[in-house]
Symmetry: C2
């Protein structure tokens, strides 16, 4: 195992994205997002992502440093053409625009066009909560990776379509970030490699039968996905996850004018809504009431099998405090892949 | 069984609410909402509700004809004091305000204070979609009936907290309306009376153990609820339903300045957000893309056990077409309760 500090990962990541062609300030934004994901415990969305990103840099799916422009706007709304720049850079721009508009108008909505992978939604809404506002964000995926079925369906027609929101409190903000399907593809692949069964009611085989066998999700050579993922709420309430997934498509991609039924190079259709509590009950009362409501949740005695009741985000912030002290661990094989990705853009990694 | 047309129920309902003290136009609004719920197949939210409402009229929890005022507003936001008038009347006012604001600003948000039971959320967002805009609505419940646990909890701290959205298409709008918990209390009570088991992972006994025995949800005399309901996504992803329920509390009650941790006479903290597609890609392209996306969903072959894939709302609109022709059926015992409720406000029911 290798162990690195977040600062080291931030520095390394910045150098990597500069080597990819990003201006230094934009490179630092992407690197910070990835290092923060590692700190919060979301290693799958952390610095390991550069192994994917390097491929996208090469094939032109992402365009480091590309200009981003506002295609259309009103005092409270905007469509941002992200120009296929790194999604984290685009998200930061969307955050700035939405925050300023909400400051003036009380509520704002900003949607994206031509947006590359924006990473972990939770980190974006968190930034707005830390500035005293409420944020709601949704995101769709490209048509080529539609593997979630509409409720009652056999063919993939939706992505994992995450939804996130965040609200300020006097302590850590409430931060919720979740996919609207039962299981991410990464976990199915892991089960395949480990030979373990998938939990029931999460995936279907190519014939539309529910299965726990990860092998039925892929072709025998394991290279192609032929199964499907069920929406959140399966087996009885899958229509709820399906509805939420549809909502992310409508609020994200469709509102910006992107057709989500055809494949294109855009990775994410993003919708960001920001609410300024000062237009409503005022930030002081709002924060106090959110705080009180969280305390009220935590005052519930734990159910069997649980040691405490927390609010969304708490466990992640605890992980962050721990990892700030202890550093972030990487398996040697994973770190080797990261070093290899860096080498592909001419960056030699010097360990601390 | 009794069979009535929706027109008859509308007329009867209007007379009932006039007898309760509502002005005739407001009485017609509530009656129309209830009759439409019957038409759409949601009989539990239909005209039978007057048996609850008559009690609330008597104990002052609802104040027919009460004035409603805007407490605070900006061009795109408003807090409406609903004065405990009937919730359907309040919702119609919120819809008008939010629609007009979205027409000017592109996006709007209206939240309620002192709002009585607003009924079926789906019917409210549908009205906005029928006028060419996208609507998102959330709603919390009063503290006294908190029976949904926070994820990992043993004590009720949340209501069934529904979320609804609607979007225009060239045909029936997409209308989604769902609770963020596993099962409504009404279905648990039905299982108790029928002696049938509850599906697994829906409820907990008073000790916080998952159970399928409805009897463990109530005191032995069946009068008091002592069990709890699990959030949507249980048993593995209950944190998702918990997060959605928290979101409805924050967007609804808390934003308006209402403390959701104490009991008060207000039934529902409502949040309504409206998006005007013309501020984004334009209503024509928006409707076309929503339509195309719906067709794309429906193009999925059905999974095992399903005969077709539909989009949210379709089945309800089909029920409506059927019931417009065939009328709406009531069990004799249910109709007798309705007649009795009417008698309590001095209304004699004459059958058609």
């Amino acid at each position: 195992m290798k162990r690195f500090s977040a600062d080291y990962l931030r520095q390394f990541g910045t150098d990597f994205f500069v080597a990819c062609g990003s201006p230094r300030d934009e490179a630092a934004q992407v690197a910070d997002h990835l290092a923060e994901s590692n700190l919060m415990g979301y290693d799958s969305h952390g610095i390991v992502r550069i192994t994917d990103y390097v491929i996208c840099v090469k094939d032109g799916r992402v365009r480091p440093g590309a200009p981003m422009t506002i295609l259309k706007e009103t005092p409270s709304t905007a469509i941002v053409d992200c120009g296929l720049n790194f999604g984290q850079v685009s998200a930061n721009l969307m955050i700035e625009i939405a925050y300023e508009k909400a400051k003036t108008c009380g509520i704002s909505s900003v949607v994206s066009q031509s947006c590359f992978h924006i990473g972990r939604l939770g980190s974006h809404v968190q930034k707005i909560a830390e500035r005293g506002m409420f944020a709601l964000m949704t995101c769709n995926g490209r048509q080529r990776i539609h593997m979630v079925v509409p409720w009652g369906g056999r063919d993939g027609r939706l992505g994992t379509n995450p939804i996130a929101f965040a609200a300020p409190t006097k302590g850590w903000p409430v931060v919720m970030d979740f996919s609207t399907c039962m299981i991410p593809e990464g976990k199915i692949r892991l089960s395949l490699f480990e030979g373990k069964p998938i939990p029931e009611n999460c995936i279907q085989d190519p014939e539309g039968n529910s299965t726990t066998d990860a092998a039925r999700f892929y072709t025998p050579d394991r290279n192609k996905i032929i199964g499907t993922i069920l929406p959140l709420g399966a087996p009885r309430f899958g229509h709820k996850g399906y509805g939420l997934a549809l909502m992310t498509e409508i609020m994200g991609a469709i509102l910006s004018g992107e057709d989500a039924t055809v494949d294109h190079n855009r990775s994410n259709g993003v919708s960001l809504m920001v609410i300024n509590p000062d237009a409503f009950c005022g930030i002081d009362l709002f924060t106090e009431l959110v705080d009180r409501f969280c305390q009220y949740q935590m005052s519930s005695r734990p159910a069997k099998g649980f040691s405490e009741v927390v609010v969304p985000g708490t466990l992640d912030f605890r992980t962050r405090e721990k990892r700030l002290v202890e550093g972030i661990l990487f398996q040697d094989s994973v770190w080797a892949e990261i070093v290899d990705a860096a080498a592909q853009v001419g960056l030699k990694v010097s360990e601390p």
